[in-house]
Amino acid sequence: MIVDIVNALTTKAETERMDIDRDVTAKAGADKNGGNVDPAAQSPGPYQSDIKRLNELQEAIATADFRHWAALAMDQNVADQVEKVQADLQASAEKALRFQQRRYNLWALQQIHVAEDAPNWPERLGQIDSRFLHPSVAALYSMVNDSLVKGLDDHAQRPAALRRLINQDKVHLERF
């Protein structure tokens, strides 16, 4: 009886995880092929929603304490299945988080590219949160930022541009 219940619940969780994983993989494929990588108007973004659902599943399994019930049933297979579901959920969450960061970096790359010629470059660069940047993108960000700041001939403009850069609201990872 317990074994059947645990099996049913883990199977349901696995199905749910696989749906989310497919969704994440599809979105990642679109990102790679040049799809729209702009952030959502409000948090949570598409990846963030998936991550949230995966976290909820993980939390539900943890709350149900499947390991405890598997131990009572004295069935090693059930125990292994519970372990697997939990590991898969963790892997899917990590994957979703990685693609979320990738989309953030792709969007940042676009912003840096546009900022090179844009008069409002401080706002464009200022909205990027450099903590989420991949090292290669971060290097590009620093290079462009330096060249644009040095390009200001009038020294009085520099502090103003830097103020605009710093005071700009950051776009957070949750909007992706």
Binding site: A28, K32, E94, L97, R98, F99, Q101, R102, N105, L106, L109, I112, H113, E116, D129, S130, R131, F132, H134, S136, V137, L140, K170
Partner: protein, 416 residues
């Protein structure tokens, strides 16, 4: 072979002799009538072999001088006419005349004497005639005029000297021995005035009159320095000679001009261009002096510009190809400028000058063109580099984040 060598040696020897004569400054007249083989300045040491084409006593039949219908014809035959080349070179008579008047006035003097005297002889029924040797093909003859009787026998030889100095010098010149010297009325007055002053000075100082002036006195008294023409008319005024020469040559000039103008070909354009080029250096002494200065300035300017270009090349502002192009341009411009200044040929002058100007314009115009081209190239490279940079960065991002472990996430506490 030996014969050839012998001939070669003989030719060399003759050439050497000829060179010795030429280089020693001794003029050698080889026209068959007079040969001066020693220094011309020292008359006493001069050995003159003079063979006149028209010796006294010889008979001259049907002289060309007497066949001339007008004074213009006679002057034209004696003095020649302005050539087409002179017309092309000078363009108008007023510019041409100052350089040609000395030659024309001397010959016009001879022609005018002959014309006026013959007119008088005809009017008075006198059978004598004055013959101009130049009109008879004796351009190089020592005598300028001949007095001929009705039978054609030459009675007297005359040497015409328009100026007083030339007349006095002719008295001493052994080439004119036995000839009567005819000068202008003004020149004779000047000579007589000079003689009077010299004689008064000598009398006052109690010394003898210098030999030169004594010879002049003797020549005047003997009639060798003629005080009148053979018809006993007064000597011709120099002013008359000048006016006559100018008017006759002027008319000949117009005829030459008509001849050239009648040619409706590009020759007109060429002549005009030649005039434009030639008139400047010929008339303006400063232009002659300006030639070398212009060359030096041009060289200095071009060398400086090459030096500046070299500096730009070393700084990387211009490439090697463009530097080579500019250097070649400067070198060519220098060469053409030099040719334009130095070359005596008017057409070449014009072509070289125009080419040098065109090269200078190309030199000046090439800089902005090169700068614009370079800016476009740099912009292209910059765009390419920029796009390539982003493309590479994107690829690296995708490759690494597809397979990489989860990057470290910032903690909320460290949010900027």
């Amino acid at each position: 072979m030996r014969r050839r060598l012998s001939r070669l040696g003989w030719s060399c020897f003759c050439g050497f002799l000829l060179q010795c004569v030429l280089l020693s400054g001794k003029a050698a007249r080889v026209d068959g009538r007079s040969i001066l083989l020693n220094g011309g300045d020292d008359a006493a040491s001069a050995m003159l072999i003079h063979e006149s084409q028209f010796p006294i006593g010889s008979v001259l039949q049907d002289p060309a001088t007497l066949r001339m219908n007008t004074l213009d014809d006679l002057v034209g035959r004696v003095a020649g006419k302005p050539s087409l080349k002179a017309y092309a070179t000078w363009g108008n008579f007023d510019e041409y005349w100052p350089s040609a008047r000395i030659n024309f006035e001397g010959k016009t003097h001879e022609a005018l004497i002959a014309w006026q005297e013959n007119t008088r002889f005809k009017a008075t029924g006198d059978g004598r005639r004055i013959i101009v040797t130049a009109a008879e093909g004796g351009n190089t003859d020592a005598a300028d005029l001949l007095l001929r009787d009705a039978d054609g026998r030459i009675l007297t030889q005359f040497q015409c000297k328009l100026g007083s100095d030339a007349a006095m010098k002719a008295l001493k010149d052994s080439k004119y021995n036995g000839m009567t010297i005819l000068t202008s009325d003004e020149s004779l007055c000047n000579i007589k005035l000079g003689l009077l002053k010299t004689e008064m000075n000598a009398t006052r100082r109690g010394i003898q009159v210098p030999e030169d002036w004594a010879a002049v006195r003797s020549a005047i008294e003997s009639g060798r320095l003629a005080s009148e023409l053979p018809s006993h008319a007064s000597l011709i005024l120099r002013s008359d000679v000048e006016v006559t020469a100018k008017s006759v040559v002027s008319r000949a000039w117009e005829i030459a001009g008509d001849t050239v103008d009648a040619v409706d070909t590009p020759v007109d354009v060429t002549i005009a261009a030649m005039n434009a080029v030639n008139r400047i250096p010929a008339n303006a002494a400063i232009a002659k002096a300006a030639g070398p200065i212009l060359i030096v300035v041009d060289y200095a300017a071009n060398i400086y510009l090459v030096y500046v270009d070299y500096g730009r090349f070393r700084n990387g502002d211009i490439g090697g190809v463009y530097f080579t192009f500019k250097t070649s341009l400067h070198a060519a411009q220098m060469a053409f400028t030099t040719a334009a200044i130095v070359d005596p040929e008017p057409t070449t002058k014009v072509v070289c000058a125009v080419t040098a100007i065109v090269l200078a314009v190309i030199d000046v115009a090439s800089d902005p063109i090169y700068a614009a081209t370079k800016a476009r190239t740099e912009e292209l490279y910059r765009t390419l580099e920029r796009d390539e940079r982003y493309y590479y960065c994107r690829q690296q991002l995708i490759n690494e984040m597809d397979n990489a472990p989860l990057p470290r996430l910032p903690s909320p506490a460290t949010t900027w």
